[in-house]
Symmetry: C2
Subunit: 418 residues, 2 copies
């Protein structure tokens, strides 16, 4: 419904705002979303999105599986399910994680969720008291900040470099907090091919993070939606792999290795944590959609997933390469960017003094869009960064988009030098 | 995972409980769920469930639609969707509600949710401040109490009779609250074929409730999952039909007229309310599953829904009749029950002094299960009631189950007389 009709309906009627809870009064629509709505309707090349390419969806496999399960498992697929999820799927995922990541099935229980976004909300609900300290990466996944914020934590943001969260800085911070008599509830990390930076936490840092968690008694929430999308370099085990005590809560999702349309993710954690999260989820939506869960079960258990991952990689690698090449070719001096081995994003840092949010209008006028970096920082204190996506747009457009963007940045650099 | 493995994993390891938020510490698994888990594994006739019969799922239609949309709309069905939901489905539902309930499309906006359970959580989040007064029916839908409770309202419970919530008692209560300088935030009602009682709020009471909402300035949350399942009597328009100001937030669901496996419901409300609920939902799970939404769109827009409803009614009516007959035939004097014109449940009231929760074990020993009524009351202050479901179990079993139950009750009545 348009703003116009909304105004018409509102005129001379209720004062709707007064009914909202105090916390709802503070909820605001994401400025970026509003901005991107405009972009979608024009012929701008958008490097702003976060969507997987529809060409990677295994449509034929889904047709086959869906027809099959409607013949053989319609009763399960169409009925309510248990809150924890469809057991054959949960077992298949546990096996898959053991094989793929070396996380013994005996060490985790799995709960299915409505995409890993829901896991973030449930984690907020189950673990965060107002004022609890939650450590995030600076920058971090925007929608995680959004999900946690409702539960009123105090965010501590740890800087990143090309090897992920700077664990030595985390340690310093932990020491300082301890001296103040404070404790961290959990560290949230997108450990592999991070959103928004594309970087991966190094093996040493992973191990050290687990040691710190024991030493300073905190939990780790490892969000790993992109780890299967590796285009170069050697795989690194998830942080969860190094977790003997059950401190790591691992989040996986089907959105990037199957299709987002099923809205299915999972939490792999110690059964004690899963049990509480299950009770919380029950009040939220009873269960994740069983229709999608039964389809996903076949997809994992019958080996389609393992077959499909290389195809997704093959599709995205040239796009990643195209963006890195274009950045190299066009970006003016003083601009830096990450060189991800996988995932969906590249992070660009402009010279100090340029505000990418203010620059956005000019970029759109020149026919290119990106996501300004500010909103990825818990304290919104960094202005000269941006996130570029390379999975949604074809190579030629990536090339042209980066070229346009470089032109805009060049002008900005000139302007601040003047 | 079994309790045994959980204990093993816990021994000598973390004290998991200490990490939970204060509110999570209070979250407990539903006793009824735990109880029913036991029942499911034995050969007890369970009248306790709340599930639709799988025989009513339109499997052939779903096969047809799914094959079709994977050929023509795979891009939409498999991709992320907007938070508000798939627009063609939202428009089709608005049309359907206009035609079916006389609610003009110009007066409502629709947001798709992960089952109406999610709408209850979002309503809690968006409207309830701790201490806000929320009026519920006594008894009311258990999972609504559960969803709202997290947001710490003060529940006021209004008694029910065969015509639904006793609006004269509500008015008295409102007057009293006004005298104390207090206001109600919203009234929650399952207006038609209520869960758990099966009764329907009369036309006069619906109109009067809307008048009271204006007079005492509160909102109405009308939860209507069962209204299409009418086996006798004349349809009554929803409360939303009488709402000129936008005070009524209407909840619908596909779970009873299509299949629960898609986990799809909707909220129909004033765009001002929808807009805030949309922002809240974004942090919860981004969007309801698009795969199910695109299927549901075809189901509504191509007329399958209207074709299917009479078949569901035809299937359930004999079961409702069978349960009413069996109650008439077997129940001892002093036992009363509702005579629903539709829905899924009958509510049974035993003589004072019988505690149906305590009686449950004996009933299970005699081979029949029900849901003790206590948990449906906000203040858990009524002990002698129970909810029976007639949609899941075939007629012969309903007959036998009610017979067994009557035997147990007869003994209990004797026992309290002694």
């Amino acid at each position: 419904m348009g703003e116009k009709l909304m105004r018409k309906l509102s005129s001379g009627s209720l004062d709707f705002e007064v009914y909202f809870s105090d916390k709802a009064q503070e909820m605001k629509a994401s400025e970026i979303r509003e901005l991107l709505k405009l972009v979608e309707t024009s012929d701008v090349i958008s490097l702003a999105g976060g969507l997987p390419a529809p060409e990677t969806f295994p449509v034929e496999t889904i047709k086959k599986i869906t027809a099959e399960i409607l013949n053989t498992h319609a009763d399960k697929a169409l009925q309510y399910g248990t809150t924890k999820g469809f057991t054959p799927l949960r077992l298949a995922l546990a096996d898959w994680m053991e094989k793929r990541y070396g996380i013994p099935t005996s060490k985790v229980e799995i709960m299915m969720v409505a995409g890993s976004q829901q896991a973030l909300d449930i984690i907020g609900r189950v673990f965060i008291n107002p004022g609890d300290i939650v450590v995030v990466e600076g920058p971090t996944y925007l929608a995680a900040l959004n999900a946690f914020k409702y539960y009123e934590p105090e965010f501590v943001s740890i800087p990143m470099d090309d090897n992920g969260m700077m664990i030595d800085l985390l340690e310093e911070k932990l020491e300082k907090l301890r001296a103040e008599g404070k404790k961290v509830k959990f560290v949230y990390t997108v450990s592999t091919f991070q959103n928004p930076m594309g970087v991966t936490m190094s093996l040493d840092r992973r191990k050290r993070l687990v040691e710190l968690a024991q030493e300073y008694d905190f939990l780790i929430v490892e969000d790993s939606p992109y780890s299967e999308l590796r285009y170069s370099g050697e795989p690194i085990p998830p942080i969860k792999h190094f977790d003997d005590e059950g401190r790591v809560i691992y989040l996986g999702t089907f959105s990037k290795i199957f299709a987002p349309g099923f809205r299915l993710g999972w939490v792999a954690a110690h059964p004690h944590f899963i049990r509480k999260m299950e009770i919380a989820k029950q009040a939220l939506d009873l269960c994740a959609n069983p229709f999608g869960q039964v389809i996903a079960w076949k997809y994992v258990a019958d080996g389609y997933l393992d077959e499909h991952i290389p195809r997704v990689i093959e599709f995205y690698k040239p796009r990643r390469d195209a963006m890195l090449e274009a950045l190299e070719e066009y970006m003016p001096e003083g601009v830096k960017w990450t060189k991800p081995d996988g995932g969906m994003f590249i992070w660009v840092t402009l010279p100090e003094g340029i505000d990418t949010k203010l620059m956005m209008e000019k970029a759109v006028a020149k026919g290119v869009a990106y996501v300004p970096g500010e909103a990825f920082f818990a304290h919104r204190d960094v202005k000269n960064t941006m996130r570029l996506n390379f999975t949604y747009v074809p190579e030629e457009k990536i090339h042209e988009g980066v070229k346009r963007l470089a032109g805009v940045i060049e002008e900005e650099i000139k302007a601040i030098k003047d």
